[in-house]
């Protein structure tokens, strides 16, 4: 048997060599039940929500389980008008993009030093920064509130951006320095011979080679900032600085009994995350994978 299986994954040999005993059938059924159960749990609520948005509110109240009678897009028109989504989206785009850009700049500079230089105390500094991953950030509500107030940045997108940049330092440093360590030194050495200074080694050689690592870490920072709720709640107060996540919380009060309108608003709020996922899921998975294998 083993000779035959050599070209296939050894895991498959279980299937190839599997005897159709009741136990094998049972194991197979159990396996697919688990996979199906989690698929249902994962996707069904989302699909159900999406279906409701095509119903009229009366249809929904009559029977939340029925399929929509037609394609009613009115809910989406209501959603945009009632919730002020454009403004919420714009604020979220500004904060998330700015946080990602600034975080990538400062963390890639730090990671460059950690990955490509050796100096005294380096290991200690790296350890302290990476240990930040385990700090329960919500426990720091009070000091963050005081710092942002002290800087005069309360209720501003800049204040929120500053906090998001900071919170993501440990995860970005971890991903970026891991990636930069894997880049061979030859090109950098050639650059030094050609007269590259410190800044040029970073900007012209290492950074361009770290594109994939930047995209991975950047995706994590962007999604974090896009989805963050606690500090948006704490550090902003007015409608003009409200981000999408804060807006979602208000849907209940805004839509009252217009359930399908509210569901449309929730659906619209989810779409950007899903789009990011569709384009970057390989990067996210590889980021988590490399993180898991390095530890």
């Amino acid at each position: 048997m083993s000779g035959q299986v050599a070209t296939v994954s050894p895991h498959d040999s279980v299937r190839l060599g599997g005897h159709r005993t009741p136990r094998v059938v049972l194991a197979k059924a159990a396996k697919w039940s688990v996979l199906a159960l989690f698929l249902i749990v994962t996707l069904f609520p989302l699909l159900w929500l999406l279906l409701q948005t095509f119903k009229t509110n009366a249809e929904f109240v009559m029977n939340p389980l029925a399929l929509p009678s037609g394609f009613h897009y009115q809910n989406y028109v209501d959603a945009v008008q009632i919730s002020g989504l454009p403004r919420l989206l714009m604020n979220s785009v500004i904060v998330s993009s700015a946080s990602t850009a600034i975080n990538m700049l400062i963390c890639s500079m730090g990671a460059f030093v950690f990955a490509r230089e050796r100096f005294k105390g380096q290991q200690l500094i790296v350890t302290i920064i990476l240990a930040g991953v385990l700090v329960p950030i919500i426990a720091l509500m009070l000091p963050y509130y005081r710092i942002i107030r002290g800087l005069g940045l309360f209720d501003s997108l800049a204040g929120l951006t500053l906090v998001y940049v900071a919170i993501n330092i440990p995860i970005s440093t971890f991903l970026l320095q891991g990636f930069m360590k894997s880049i061979p030194f030859e090109m950098e050495e050639a650059g030094v011979i050609d007269g590259c200074n410190f800044w040029q080694r970073y900007w012209l050689i290492v950074l361009p080679l770290s594109k994939l690592g930047i995209v991975t870490a950047g995706t994590f920072v962007f999604l974090f900032s896009w989805n963050e709720f606690v500090y948006a709640l704490l550090l902003t107060a007015s409608f003009t600085t409200r981000t999408l996540q804060l807006g979602i919380r208000d849907f209940q009060g805004q839509f009252f009994t217009n359930y399908t309108g509210m569901y449309a608003a929730i659906t619209l709020s989810i779409i950007p995350s899903v789009i990011v996922y569709v384009f970057f899921h390989e990067r996210i998975i590889s980021g988590l994978t490399s993180g898991a294998l390095k530890t």
Binding site: F38, P45, L105, V113, T289, L293
Partner: protein, 294 residues
Amino acid sequence: MTLHKHWKGIALFLLPVGVMYVTFFIYPLGYVFVVSLTDYRGFGAMEFVGLANFRRIFGMTNFQFGLRNNLIWALSLGFGQVALAALVAMILARKPPFWRFLRTAYFLPNVISQVAIAMLWYTIYRESFGLLNTTLRAMGLDHLALNWLGNLSTALPAVILQQLLYIGYFMIILLAGVMSIPRSLYESAEIDGANVFQQEVFITIPMVKDIAVVAMTLAMAFGIRHFEATFLLTGGGPANRTMTLGILLHRNLHAANYGRASAISAVLIIVGALIIGLTRHLLTTRSAIEDVKQ
């Protein structure tokens, strides 16, 4: 590369990230522990009061519920969610048909905000027009239809479940671990007559243990810092049954009870460190610091 030559460059490159880290990690941690020993209310002088804030909060019912619930959260995610994720990871590692699609699908909810997910589950759990109750009623099980989030005994399980079931994050981490196990181990076990179940128990589980502990550590950290779903679904009610320290901290901060809020923060940080440290101590011989290092 070369030493000393670039010290100016090194210092300059570390400056921004260093300033931010000191301002938003080191200073706040110190701030919380110092202020927790005072009666500070946001203005005037800080009066040192020793451990009075801690004595006070440990006597409060909502704090007791909060601490208990945070531990339940941490353990449910650390053990329950990671175990479920490990089960799915072991199945997917054998590359059944559609395994790539399933891996991508399971992770999808993890990119959606906790706020949107909580709103989604509100539409599932709500008493009238809720997906769960309408389904139960459609099946003739009217007596099982409950006010899931308002009932004293179902509220906490309901809130935890809506997070616990989304295993994607830890599944991906564990899947990477399981897939990195050399295939030859399974081949020789198979030649020796070990069935799939035995292979998983005697090869996969011991080989993936270190990564599983990392996943558990992260899951517990997530459990300790839990906030959104509880804040939105129940606000800590009914009768403190879903209270968490994060919600209590938020309330005390808004009431400008800074000393007490800081004491809650300090407990959150210490309990988080203890539970994570203890788990790792019991399950591995490596220290957390070594793991965070590369």
